[in-house]
């Protein structure tokens, strides 16, 4: 039987908490940026002119069809070549925002498509501008449908943020791995790390549920 030594974990709690802070910092900032990127992209895609549409579609498809690790390496190693020097944590946030943004824009697009096109025509005929239609008519209806998938994108952002440890950011995964290697205590550290990640993602799942109930309109079921 494996002899499970909790003392190594207890000793390294402050070390791990520092990592949780970095992981949370990266995922929160990049989730916010990703949401904004997703909004802009989907606005271009549904209501922009042809070239804007093309840019938005190519951005989404390129990001969605290449691995995040390659994007991270590219931003970390190739941007300095064109004179853009970012600290590793900045590279991580940039890559994660772009990656999650593409997925969020797809989620938003599905939500917008679920709003009947008559609503769009009606608001245009009432004299609202394209932007006003988007902001006042379509978005409030779409947001109710997209909350659950949006929540799962934020969860993915937390999980994906573990990859920034490969561009030398000392986030939670980096610290779990370092602790495991230093003491040769893989089981203790990895189980602790898994539990911490489960707690973080579980919190987001809980918040998603709360928001979903908050936005629910009485007597109106949310169906696409």
């Amino acid at each position: 039987m494996y002899n499970f030594d909790t003392s190594v974990i207890l000793e390294s709690i402050p070390f791990l908490i520092e990592g949780i802070k970095i992981t949370l910092f990266i995922s929160v900032i990049s989730s916010i940026c990703a949401f904004l990127i997703g909004l802009i992209t989907v606005f271009f895609r549904t209501m922009g002119s042809k070239p804007l549409k093309f840019i938005a579609v190519s951005y989404v498809e390129i990001i969605r069809n290449t691995p995040l690790l390659i994007q991270l390496y590219f931003i970390y190693k190739s941007l300095p070549a064109i004179g853009l020097m970012l600290p590793p944590i900045g590279c991580g946030i940039l890559a994660l925002s772009l990656y999650t943004g593409a997925f969020i824009s797809e989620v938003l697009r599905a939500g917008i498509n679920s709003v009947a096109s008559e609503q769009y025509q009606a608001s245009i005929s009432l004299g609202l501008s394209k932007f006003q239609t988007f902001r006042l008519v379509i978005f409030p209806q779409a947001i109710r449908i997209i909350i659950p998938p949006l929540g799962s994108q934020f969860i993915n952002a937390i999980k994906n943020s573990s990859l920034v440890s490969f561009i030398s950011v000392t986030d939670l995964f980096y610290r779990v791995y370092k602790g495991a290697v230093d003491d040769f205590r893989f089981f203790e550290f990895f189980i602790t790390g898994a539990l911490i990640y489960m707690m973080l993602t579980g919190t987001v799942a809980l918040l998603t549920n709360i928001f979903e109930n908050q936005f629910k309109i009485q007597g109106r079921s949310v169906k696409a």
Binding site: N65, Y73, K77, I145, K159, A180, F186, F187, G193
Partner: protein, 229 residues
Amino acid sequence: MMHWIDIAENYDFLMKGLFITLKLALVSVSGSLLIGIILGVLRYSKIFLISWLAVAYIESVRSIPLILFIVFIHFGALPYLTGESSSFFYSSCVAFIIFTSAYIAEIIRSGLNSVERGHIDAAKSLGLNRMQRLSYIILPLAVSRMTPALVSQFISLIKDTSLASTIGLIELTRSGEIIYERTYHETEILIFIAFIYFVICFGLSKLSAIWETKPYMCTEHREPIGANQ
């Protein structure tokens, strides 16, 4: 000044990496389909403990980053269980199967749920028994509706195989790294590798988009995206 010649010079090496990537993806997807189906069925088990265990497995795997599995299985679990260090390919396969099977189990559940009550009732009233209902009505409908989600899971898996490079498996990403660690021309190699991943994944997603236009997908009865979470 770009150095595209690096790619031509190391073309065979990169293609060997691509072969490993595809092999890893195919072996893992077959394994995780098998386990995913078993999990998806166990989830509906009458015995509470079994269905609870299946749900616990699916939910906990889905909330932990994949990289944690890969590193833990390669450096921690497999060496402990077998007493010797395991090969890179073997441990990445195990990690991908454990990770992806949880997602596939969810896809199978939502596919089975997508079959309308009316179809099942109609089959019952026609006198089909439980087995016939499953094999003639529910499975054909569910499988064809699951296909797009399964394909997109396979695409994610192909992208995720790049994580196996972090434990040292020389697949596409790692072979690229080996080249640019020597030549220092990261940009060209990374663009080329990204292009290969893009061609495979984008091609697959377009194929599945063609599948989605089939008439029996009858999308109007399906639940909205994510409503089932």
